[in-house]
Symmetry: C2
Subunit: 241 residues, 2 copies
């Protein structure tokens, strides 16, 4: 019994390594992208992998994820949520590694602040153009992250995290389409988003060729609680609940 072990002597137990891996999503060129790093050494030399790293003994799991995120993108204070913990014995050929996977959403305006430059081996990839099979079980992790993203999109305001501070309704609709992978009806979308009252008109307009776009801001609750705005009523389960 875990913490209930009668006589506990840390040195008596062989311990796995523990890491965090972060699936960092952003919207670039109107398409959903994921951050990947290219491996230089065995195993999986040359393959692309999710950014991640060992947890320090004195930081929480989420802090570790935020640290990794910042190291790779220079971004702070963004949406982060724990996805799932992957720990199959054979997933890393070197030793037993248990990885707690996190999902991060980087908004379009913050994403350009990226400082990461361990050279050319860090890149954003469109999810429709992922580079071959990924290292380790990262294909599985990424698939799980996408699943989660899609299912949460339908009944939370998660999508707003990918947008800049200020955005138009059609931009929001575009995000929904990107992630859900289907076209949505313009009229119905306007109706629904307005009825939900999650938007705050900034009064600002962005002018262009046609009628100027009204720009909105996501109306946050106090704290960082998520608004409950459901795009669809129905949703189909996903493995992690």
């Amino acid at each position: 019994m875990s913490e209930n072990a009668e006589s506990y002597d840390p040195s008596r137990y062989e311990r796995p390594s523990v890491t965090v891996d972060v699936v960092i999503f952003t919207l670039q060129d109107r398409e959903l992208h994921v951050l990947m790093v290219q491996r230089k050494h065995w195993p999986y030399e040359g393959r692309w992998a999710l950014p991640g790293g060992f947890i320090n003994m004195d930081e929480s799991l989420e802090q570790a994820a935020r640290r990794e995120l910042e190291e790779e993108t220079g971004v702070r204070d963004i949406y982060l949520e724990q996805l799932y913990t992957f720990g199959e014995p054979g997933r890393d050929p070197r030793t037993r590694v248990i990885s707690i996977a996190y999902i991060a959403l980087v908004s379009a305006d913050k994403q350009t602040l990226r400082v990461s430059d361990e050279s050319t081996d860090v890149r954003w990839f469109a999810i429709s153009q992922l580079p071959g099979p990924l290292a380790f079980d990262h294909d599985t992790i990424l698939a799980a992250a996408l699943d989660r993203l899609r299912s949460k999109l339908e009944y939370t305001t998660l999508a707003f995290q990918l947008l800049p501070e200020v955005f138009s309704i059609l931009e929001l609709k575009h995000i929904y389409e990107q992630i859900l992978g289907e076209k949505l009806d313009k009229g119905n979308f306007y109706r629904k988003i307005k009825d939900a009252k999650v938007l705050e008109d900034t009064g600002i307009r962005r002018e262009g060729r046609g009628r100027p776009t009204s720009l909105y801001r996501f109306r946050r609750n106090r704290g960082d609680e998520q608004f409950v705005f459901r795009w669809r009523e129905a949703r189909v389960d996903d493995a992690e609940g």
Copy 2:
């Protein structure tokens, strides 16, 4: 970068301990119960805690959870799902312990097979009558488990896992009413449950005063995948989506 570390030398890193904790639910006397073990030693001597234990180097996380579950209840082959991973640095005063929490559902008939008998310190508690503050952060873990359970009940077949092997449709309806806290329409319930095709007629009847009750069995998928039977289409939130 986790598995991406350039030069990886296991011995160079200080490692946390990794455990699994299992929140084992069952239905007893028409009420939801949780299995707890009482601690005999420091820390949290005398406090109740969730069963759990260290993972072995050659078993998967789920295998570890199943092993712990069997050690405590003697039960095998039941519903198990990963809940969340808890890893705050201070959650165990002895050392850094990261715990992957699982939810297990034990059906009413299997629950009596419990073999566990490390004496009096293993007990089922009604969730309405939990014993004081639990050890470690187990109050938090339990609360998270309850949240997840309640929200998944409405759009999955989770409820079946709490029923005995063989049951009647009206018994199933009763469980739904208990958990949702409202009366359901008999006719609509029959229709919905039949249309979902998640039941298998056992052919057995239970006779009594009126027309005999047909007894059914939950039709499992191969593997341990959950059937997707939604009592309601809509549902709000749970943390892990």
